[in-house]
Every structure is written in C-alpha cells, then in structure tokens.
C-alpha cells in the first residue's frame, strides 16, 4: 500500500492558508499571533464568533474559534464569561440548541455547545440533563442518531451525539453493541466508509464513523488496514491534499478528515487525536491537566 505524503499535504494546506494542520506536527509554520488576532476580529459583541469578519455569530464558528485558540494555547485571550453567555442563551426549553439566535435546531449544535463549553470548563452553565435528554430523543430505530427526533441515522449526526454524550459522561444511554454494528456496517468493499446504508463511501466518514466507534470502544469491528489503504488512495501525492474518494479533486475539508482518520487509526508519524474533542490529545491534556486558565 502507499504511504502518507505528509510534506505534500502541508504544502497544500499552506497554499490555502488553513489553520488545522497541527496533526502533521507543523503548527509552527503558521503565525499564531496573526491567526489569533483575526479570530478575535470575528467575535461579535454577543460573545459568539462568525465565520469571517462582519459575519453574524454562530455556534459552529464559535466552536471552531475556541478549538483553534486551544490548538495555539491561546484560550486566555478569551473573555470566557462572554462566550459562555452566548452559548447558554442558545439552549432551548427542550434541551436542544439553536445554531444562532434565529432558531435552527440540530444535534450538531448540541455537540458544538457542549464541546465548546467543556473546553472552556463551563459545562455547568447549561442544563446538561436536558441537553442529554434531547440528544437521547434523537436516537433512531437502528441505535444511531439523527439531526432531530425521528430523523434518519447519519454518521455525521452520530458523531455529534456520541461526542456530546461522551463529554457529558452519558454514554450509558447508548446501546453500544447495536450502534457499533451499524457503524461497522458502513465499511464497504473498497475499505472506505459511507455515512448511511447504500450510500457512497467518503473519506470524511473516516472521521465521523471512526471517532464514534472509538468513543464506544468498538473500533476493532472495522477492518483498519483496508480503511488506511482507502484513505491513502484518496491522496494527491503530486500536489498534496486528500479528496472524498480516489481520483476526485482534493479540498481542505477532506484533507483534514483524511489525516484525522489516519491519526485515529494510529498511522505512524501522526499525533494522537481525541475522538470527542477533535483535537490532538496533547492539546486536550493541556486544557484539562495543564496550567489552570484564569
């Protein structure tokens, strides 16, 4: 089987000037002060972050901002109360979370809120019990989770729900055997993973499915070697970058998930990744066991 063309991917990532390249151990190729300063410019007076300067705040980008700051060990630039207040205001009566003040509800946002507050050590600012209850109400007939109650199981939503339950210490709500089986059934002949039955495999599911399996301690139920081969086959070894499936065009999204998936599979030379926080393990350790934040 081929190898991970790590240096080519770093070059590709820098060519689109993206920040999430820490797993390749090359974070120092990016100027952290510039990134932090730009991120803070994306913060709204409400405390939330938008996707770019002048964009309205949204839970998705608030999580991304906090994760990037955590990567650079710059969480202390934040007014934690402000960010916390923005997030807790987005929790609804039924425990769900809206993505922004105009109300879109989705279990993705439950994950964003819970993951973000956990990194900031302010999980107690929301009603965790209700949040968990809402997530559990999104459980499907095959043991997975959808975006809202009644919605179909989808590996991306499953990652969000399992991640949120993991972070809140609520994994006992999951039938791990049933869900584990559903997840390992995502592996198709090519060795890649799909996100739902009878759909095409896609490198990004190397993250969503794999991290979920790891969190419920069932990752040995897939064929790891075949998945590694699939991800490596999705590389552009000439110009760098990883695509959704072999021979398609590369993009930064699939480059991230391909590398993160390989990290979860313990591919040599990559940092270990925390499956719930989607951050390198050393960063998570630093957050929870390193020096205290003010």
């Amino acid at each position: 089987m081929g190898e991970l063309a790590g240096d080519k991917h770093v070059k590709y990532i820098l060519s689109v000037e993206k920040k999430k390249d820490n797993l390749l151990g090359k974070l120092d190729t990016v100027d952290s002060d510039e990134v932090v300063s730009w991120i803070l410019q994306c913060q709204h007076e409400s405390g939330g972050f938008g996707g770019n300067i002048g964009h309205d705040p949204h839970l998705l980008y608030t999580l991304s901002a906090v994760q990037v700051l955590a990567l650079f060990d710059k969480l202390d630039v934040l007014d934690i109360n402000k960010v916390t207040n923005y997030i807790r205001a987005l929790q609804n009566e039924d425990g769900s979370f809206s993505g922004h003040i105009w109300g879109e509800v989705d279990t993705r946002f439950s994950y964003c809120a819970i993951c973000c507050l956990a990194i900031l050590k302010r999980l107690d600012s929301i009603n965790v019990e209700k949040a968990v209850r809402y997530i559990v109400s999104c459980k499907t007939l095959d043991g997975g989770f959808g975006c809202t109650p009644g919605a179909e199981s989808h590996a991306g939503q499953i990652f969000c729900c399992v991640g949120a339950l993991a972070i809140t210490g609520s994994l006992h709500h999951i039938d791990k055997d049933l869900l584990g089986w559903w997840l390992c059934e995502r592996q198709v002949k090519s060795g890649g993973l799909n996100g739902r039955p009878e759909k095409l495999s896609d490198v990004c599911y190397s993250w969503w499915v794999l991290s979920s399996l790891i969190m419920i301690d069932r990752v040995h139920w897939i064929d790891k070697e075949k998945l590694i081969k699939f991800i490596l086959d999705c590389q552009d070894t000439e110009n760098g970058g990883i695509s959704d499936r072999p021979d398609d065009a590369v993009d930064i999204f699939h480059t991230y998930f391909g590398v993160a998936g390989l990290s979860l599979l313990e591919y040599p030379g990559l940092k270990a990744t925390d499956p719930a926080y989607a951050l390198p393990v050393d960063v998570v350790n630093r957050i929870f066991f390193g020096r205290c934040s003010t």
């Binding site: 000037e17 993206k18 100027d31 510039e34 990134v35 300063s37 730009w38 410019q41 938008g50 300067i53 002048g54 964009h55 309205d56 949204h58 922004h100 105009w102 879109e104 499907t140 007939l141 095959d142 959808g146 975006c147 809202t148 009644g150 919605a151 179909e152 199981s153 989808h154 584990g180 089986w181 390992c184 059934e185 592996q187 002949k189 060795g191 739902r196 039955p197 009878e198 759909k199 040995h220 139920w221 897939i222 064929d223 075949k226």
Partner: protein, 342 residues
C-alpha cells in the same frame, strides 16, 4: 421594481456580469469593502462580481436599509454565496419590512435549491417561510420535497424538512403511500424506510406502532424476500419490535423469513445475524433451521448439536462470509450464552 422571483438571481451567474456601480437601482449606494486588516491571514482571491456584490451588501446591511433593492441585493449575494447566513437573515428582515408576498419567496428558494439542494441556510429559510404561511402551505411543502426527492431521494435536508412539515403543518394522509412509492422505485432507500417508521409511529391517523406492527411485518418480509442483502428491511423489522423481545421471538414469520433466505444459500448475512439475535434471546430452532445452517458450513469439525454450537456455527459462517467484520462476528460468538448440558 425589485422582485424576489428566482429568475433574475438564477440567471445572474450565467449572463455577463453587469457591475452594480452601473445599475440605476443601486445609484447612491457607497460600497463598503471587506476589512481584512493590514496583514490578512486568509486573503481569498475573490472574483470581481463576488467582491462587488458583497461590498454593496455590506453597505445596505450596515445602514439597515430594508427596501426592494436590498431584497434584490440579497438575491445576488445568495447567488454568489448561498451559505452566507447573515445575508439570509437580512433577507428575512427585508421581507418582513416590505410585507412581501411569501408565496413568491417560495419560488425564490426553489431556484436556489435547483443549484444546491444541500444548503443548510436554504432549508432553514424555507422553513421560516412555510411557518409564516401556516397549515395552508403543507401541500406545497410536501410537493416541493417530493420534487427534490425525484433528483435525490436521500437528501437529508429535504427529509428533515418533510418531517417538520408533517408535524407542524399536517398532511399525513398520503404519507405511507408515498413511502411505498419511493420504496417501489428503490427498495434500498434507507431514508424512505426511516420515513415509513416515522409515519407508523407518529401519524395521528394510523393508530401507532402496535396497531401497525402486523401489516408492517408482512411488508418488511416481502422486501426481504425480494432482496435479502438489503440492510434496511431487516433493521426495520427489528425496529417494529423495539424492546418487545418476547413478541419478536414468538413471531414465526421472522424466523421463517430467515429460513427462506438460508435455503437459497445466497445473500444470507442478515438472515444469519437475525437468527443469531434470536438464538441469543433463547430461541429454540427447529430441525429445518438447524439443517439449513449446517448446510452453509464448509467444515465438518464439530456437530451442530446444541444451540450454542449452532450459534457458534453461525458466527463462524458469518466471519467467513463477511471477513471485513471478522472481529465483530468473533465478538458475537464470545457473547453467546453458554448452552445447558445436553
């Protein structure tokens, strides 16, 4: 003057770009450039039409102008970046301020959907419009999602929207038939199976899961016979019984269906794993089932005498048939209850 109809914004990307600076409707607007700071970290090379559109949007947005030309501008901004949620939100403010005809707005969203039916902001906006229009909008919403499903019968956003429509606005009457139609077109459509489950459990007019279980078991088994390799009807069948293990064990149609598949000796993975589930719950197979399993074994080592030997046989057959998940089937055999001494 400016309309929210889809045709102007939809055509923009294809016709030659007419700079906003030379359009009379935008006279007097001072474009506001994006401020990336002195040394931008992510300096994106914007196309001219994108940059100009967003410079004008920024101007009207910051001055909070809620006018027909603002509505037109949001159409243009959406056509160059349909994921910009700030633009969508501003559009809603403009629509409200203008008291705009929201049925025209439905047409606008249909135009956006034609270009990208997987955009979150589009669906959120559509829901907002439908909510404002109320229960009268139900049939149009169901028709809209139906059109999307003609192009992509598994569009997750559309299914989510359809479920919301049914619960918030109604229209359940034909839903079970619609699921049947979709499954007739593609019996492997897991979204349609999921929707079917949604209907039988939540429809106010069907009586709930218990009332529907019997006929749905027959429906699932018919699909299993046609395509035993189809994961969905097996999961659906199991879901019909939920936590009711006794009823699941005692419904002879279930193990008969498994036997039927095993006898054909093809595509028997899910049949075997279902039997494994049943054995694990204490199911006592008849001789016919035992023989069918035995005939699938490739080695003669050990007799399939006791049920635990039988279950172990099933696991090793599955490990052979589905080597990608060999670890899973090995684990299944490790979880089997110990057989009582014969």
């Amino acid at each position: 003057m400016a309309s929210s109809s889809s045709s102007s914004s939809e055509g923009e990307g294809r016709r030659a770009w007419v700079p906003l600076a030379s359009r009379p409707e935008f006279a007097g607007v001072t474009p506001l450039p994006q401020d990336d700071g002195p040394s931008p970290v992510v300096a994106i090379a914007y196309r001219d039409d994108f940059r100009e559109t967003m410079d004008y949007f920024r101007s009207l947005y910051s001055s909070r102008e809620l006018s027909p030309r603002s509505l037109l501008l949001t159409s243009l901004a959406i056509s160059v970046n349909p994921a910009n949620y700030t633009v969508w939100h501003f559009r809603r403010q403009v629509l409200e301020a203008l008291g705009a005809d929201l049925t025209e707005e439905l047409e606008f969203t249909e135009g956006v959907a034609k270009r990208n039916a997987k955009n979150y902001q589009l669906w959120h906006h559509r829901r907002w419009v439908a909510e404002k229009l109320g229960p009268d909008a139900a049939s149009r919403e169901l028709e809209f999602t139906r059109k999307i499903f003609c192009l992509d019968a598994k569009n997750y956003h559309a299914w989510s929207h359809r479920q919301w429509v049914l619960q918030a606005l109604g229209g359940w009457e034909d839903e079970l038939d619609y699921c049947a139609q979709l499954l007739k077109e593609d019996v492997f459509n897991h979204s349609a199976w999921n929707q079917r489950y949604f209907v039988i459990t939540k429809s106010p007019s069907l009586g709930g899961l218990n009332a529907m279980r019997d006929s749905e078991v027959d429906y699932a088994i018919e699909a299993i016979h046609a395509n035993p390799e189809n994961e969905s009807p097996w999961r659906y069948l199991r879901g019909l019984y939920n936590d009711e293990n006794e009823a699941w064990l005692n419904d002879s149609r279930v193990h008969s269906a498994c036997l039927h598949v095993l006898k054909a000796k093809r595509n028997f993975k899910f049949a075997l794993s279902t039997l494994l589930d049943l054995l694990g719950l204490g199911f006592k197979p008849n001789q016919e089932i035992k023989d069918a399993i035995t005939s699938l074994r490739t080695s003669d080592s050990g007799e399939a005498g006791s049920d635990s030997d039988l279950a172990n046989s099933v696991c090793s057959i599955l490990g052979r048939e589905d080597p990608m998940r060999a670890n899973y089937w090995t684990w299944r055999s490790s979880k089997l209850p110990q057989a009582a001494e014969v």
